[in-house]
């Protein structure tokens, strides 16, 4: 999956987001501090937020181009978007949340549903309402709901932010498994270097709405004396 973003401009209140970058790796981290524009960038790709200028191509398909006034609606982009607050539908059971994208699944789809439910280990939750789920369970259901729409790419906005340490580790491993099982490319927003190094093949560092640097995680991060990762002082890219 190749995402080409060219001279993208997104107004963000007093500041703005300006990005030109080509995403080519299976799992790319969009890394940066709070307020760097990571979430806004993901929203723009998902078609939830409208840029003021620029062009976005998904494998050569232009989904947004301000110059030619192309703006493919989010429902046609085929991107699985999991926002940070997960946005599970509170009035629908887990089963109905999962089936939202395909309310009447074909027989072939049912096998896929079973596969996703098995991989995410949410079979026992199907009849529960979202309010009765723990943070980790909600995360898995939101991931399953996005996967069952059969997207071409998953957009994950800080998926581990609200989880405790042990659950973060398990969910990180689960995301790796989802990528392997379904061959699903991901764009992964985070501000945790540990997640980037563990899961991602490429990292793009956002600073104040700009791509400050990019490259393989190992080249950008180093482990400090304590088991903590930090950005290397030498910028690459």
């Amino acid at each position: 999956m190749k995402i080409r973003v060219t001279e993208l401009q997104v107004p963000l209140g007093a500041s703005s987001l300006a990005v030109t970058y080509e995403f080519t790796q299976p799992i790319t981290a969009v890394f940066g501090a709070s307020g760097a524009g990571k979430t806004a960038f993901l929203e723009v790709l998902a078609g939830v937020r409208r840029p003021s200028a620029g062009r976005i191509e998904l494998d050569g398909w232009v989904v947004f181009d301000a110059a030619t006034r192309v703006d493919v609606p989010s429902r046609r982009r085929g991107l699985g978007y999991v926002p940070q607050d997960l946005a599970l539908f509170p009035h629908r059971s887990v089963r109905d949340n999962l089936h939202y994208a395909r309310p009447s699944p074909a027989p072939a789809d049912l096998a896929f549903v079973d596969h996703v439910v098995a991989v995410l280990e949410i079979g026992a939750l199907l009849d529960r309402m979202p309010a009765r789920l723990s943070g980790g369970e909600k995360q898995r259901v939101a991931l399953g709901r996005a996967l069952l729409a059969r997207p071409r790419l998953l957009l994950l906005d800080e998926p581990l932010a609200s989880l405790d340490a042990s659950l973060r580790e398990r969910t990180l491993a689960l995301l790796g498994r989802v990528h392997q099982e379904f061959g699903m490319p991901m764009l992964y927003v985070t501000h945790d270097p540990q997640e980037v190094v563990t899961l991602c093949h490429d990292v793009v560092v956002f600073e104040a709405g700009r791509v400050a640097r990019h490259g393989p995680p190992a080249a950008l991060f180093e482990r400090t004396s304590t088991p903590v990762w930090q950005l290397r002082s030498q910028a690459s890219g």
């Binding site: 429902r75 982009r77 978007y81 926002p83 539908f89 509170p90 939202y100």
Partner: protein, 224 residues
Amino acid sequence: MQPDSLWHVVGFTVGVCAFSTLLILPPGVLLGLLLARGRFPGRALLETILSLPLVLPPVATGLVLLRQTGPNGWFGAWFEHTTGLEIAFTWRAVVVATGVMAFPLLLRSARVAFQEVPPRLEPVARTLGASEWRVFFTVTLPLARRGLVSGIVLAFARALGEFGATILVAGNIPGKTTTLSLAIYQAVQTGDDAMASRLIMVSAALAFAALWASDALQKQRHPL
């Protein structure tokens, strides 16, 4: 007034008010959604104009309605030309008066109900491939349901108690346009205190039932 005509008045009032509430439901919901989600110049002005019957003296609203629904009014003339039926001083005038007076309550409840739907859910539903209609009927409307039902009940209760606008547009024609409120007024004017008391008790029972239903629906939790 005879006791058997009391139940006729009650049935007429409830039926007409239910019909007028039903009529204002589609525009109330659509305009409530527009005011909750729309970002356009004049939005506040539009809401103010639509809410005027809430704050204007009901008699003033009634006079405006009488002028518009009479044979020389634009709406009355158009309606008569289209259907061959008159509005003023018929049961249809009661529907118009109660509907117009109850409309702001429904509109404001609908606007608040739509504003309370978590803003993240609709965009996410679209990314899952849902059309605007599907998003509205599967996400927006179910989550605004409690507020909307409460607004419908309040509008119905307001219609039940309508007096000032109704008496101007529909008059007080026994067996044709007399509602509970008008019947109470008539009973007092004719010194029939027993009938007035009975009518007040029926009105109180209906209003209590409507408000209780509204409160019960407000407190009802989502099946989370």
